[in-house]
Symmetry: C2
Subunit: 343 residues, 2 copies
Amino acid sequence: MDKRVGKKTVVFQNPPEIIGGYNVVGPKEGKGPLNAHFDYVLPDTYYGKKTWEKAESAMIEMAMNEAVKKHKLAADDIDYVLAGDLLNQNTTSNYALRQIGRPFIGMFGACSTMALTAAVGAMLIDGGFAGKVLCATSSHHETAESQFRMPTEHGNQRPLTAQWTVTGAGCLVLGKGESGSGQGATIHITAATLGCAIDYGQTDANHMGASMAPAVADTLLGHFYDMGTGPESYDLIVSGDLGNLGLELLKELLDKSGFHTLDNIQDCGCLIYSADQDVHAGGSGCGCSAVVLSGYLLDRLRKKELRKILFVGSGSLHSKDSLLQGESMPGIGHGVVIEVMDH
Amino acid sequence: MDKRVGKKTVVFQNPPEIIGGYNVVGPKEGKGPLNAHFDYVLPDTYYGKKTWEKAESAMIEMAMNEAVKKHKLAADDIDYVLAGDLLNQNTTSNYALRQIGRPFIGMFGACSTMALTAAVGAMLIDGGFAGKVLCATSSHHETAESQFRMPTEHGNQRPLTAQWTVTGAGCLVLGKGESGSGQGATIHITAATLGCAIDYGQTDANHMGASMAPAVADTLLGHFYDMGTGPESYDLIVSGDLGNLGLELLKELLDKSGFHTLDNIQDCGCLIYSADQDVHAGGSGCGCSAVVLSGYLLDRLRKKELRKILFVGSGSLHSKDSLLQGESMPGIGHGVVIEVMDH
């Protein structure tokens, strides 16, 4: 059966259920406005490890293990783990996966990885290839700063356009949805629109919102076109980590395409920190949208404060080396529709 | 419909067809024994670009574009591009995808990426989410040396256990298989077994065969167990890029598990260079198994010299940074069964 709608979108035949999730954040994120929605707040950014890289790997491992335990599953119940991160050669995920012992699909979508893994994970379940999957990603402020910009120890001043990489790891458990029968309501991924690499020529690694906004706009417009919908069809459209400036650019781009600015657009990078936390343009990193989705957004869906959201992870597809070679920063946006279904 | 068999394997209901492929290699690979099976041999390793990284990106872009053209398709016929590579943040693929303009699923499997993208691409087609997909990957000797070991300009001596990273890019076009009707025979992906991250504690980046062999053995044994088969069920079992030493280790591990050494096991890293090309332990890199599969192996399947092969891509999941922090090198093996089907 063909599940494609239009040129970029798929609609699931038996929408996979988001059984639940687990997230771990750093101390700064724990002091932010979404504190009540995090499962575990680290006391410090080292998590008992000698390096920040090892701490990040331990965080994603914890998120995966605890997500399995929290939903009374065993590792053996998981058919595939879809995971990726920002570090060179995906090492955060790779090293964590040694301990999980289940087939591993490594993915790269930069900061859009939560949405990418959720979209592909849902396809594997709806396609009959998996009963349950884990979708996980992470970022760590100190590992990202050192790899993409300057080591934290360098103490350089950040421009106001810069976003603050979230220290956090999030994991979703997706399943076939048979647990839904008998319960009041369950949460499902009903459609997915994967994005293209879009490059508007932005070259400033301290202004990633500008590289990602056009890609998110492209995915949103593609989704609206394929589905015959518009922003008004969703209780909330939530982008991954455009930050304050990127979100403004997204609204401008949508506006120019005839979808006028609405109150129901938000961004995980704007939600995760409060104004007094001095993060400049907002949060970023794979962990940003991962912990906001697996915590705050799932909680609001469970309470039926939101019943249908369009979650579009956003990523900037550059490396430090590519920028040093004079390249620009292509962006990407991957979207999933998440809905509450009553039984 | 549940397509899972055993704990790790899926069997496709309507086995996706390998419509064809295209590959590009560097001059050294072009002088090797598989020369007749390459579509394009670069005159030099720069391909008219200022850096080797840009050359690698141009190579994978060429492989994707030419694969589409060669099979009389348009970019718009492609529903998803699944691609990944060895460079930090997947930049080879990311920058190439700007030009392709189709939804992009970024993947990371280190040198196993050809098999990983083929397995997941086949799932997306058999699951009803795509009509046609591209599966592509690449590596470049000079970009890999600089990133994982020492810059080529450094001129350091390579130990005899080291493999030579292949300069090459390969792309497969997968489709639903409707083109098969009326033709004599077509080539299909009939099953897939995705692997786990397996770590035997190997730490030497100049001996990657030893980190990958246990992971390939684990995937092969899992596949045999799930399918109730053994090595004798396949005309050829071909690993990704274990090299001479890794292939010996794989045979030893299989032997100890009761699957005694057979003539029908080969390795892409052993096939791609001749003994007089002085590559020490053989070829490696994502491009190695990609160009051997999309060239030599597809050609032999087309001629029906081989009718059923088990292709297991192998990857070492480390980074230079992780080794500097004292980590070992987990390996991974992803397998697909490729069969000729008569009509």
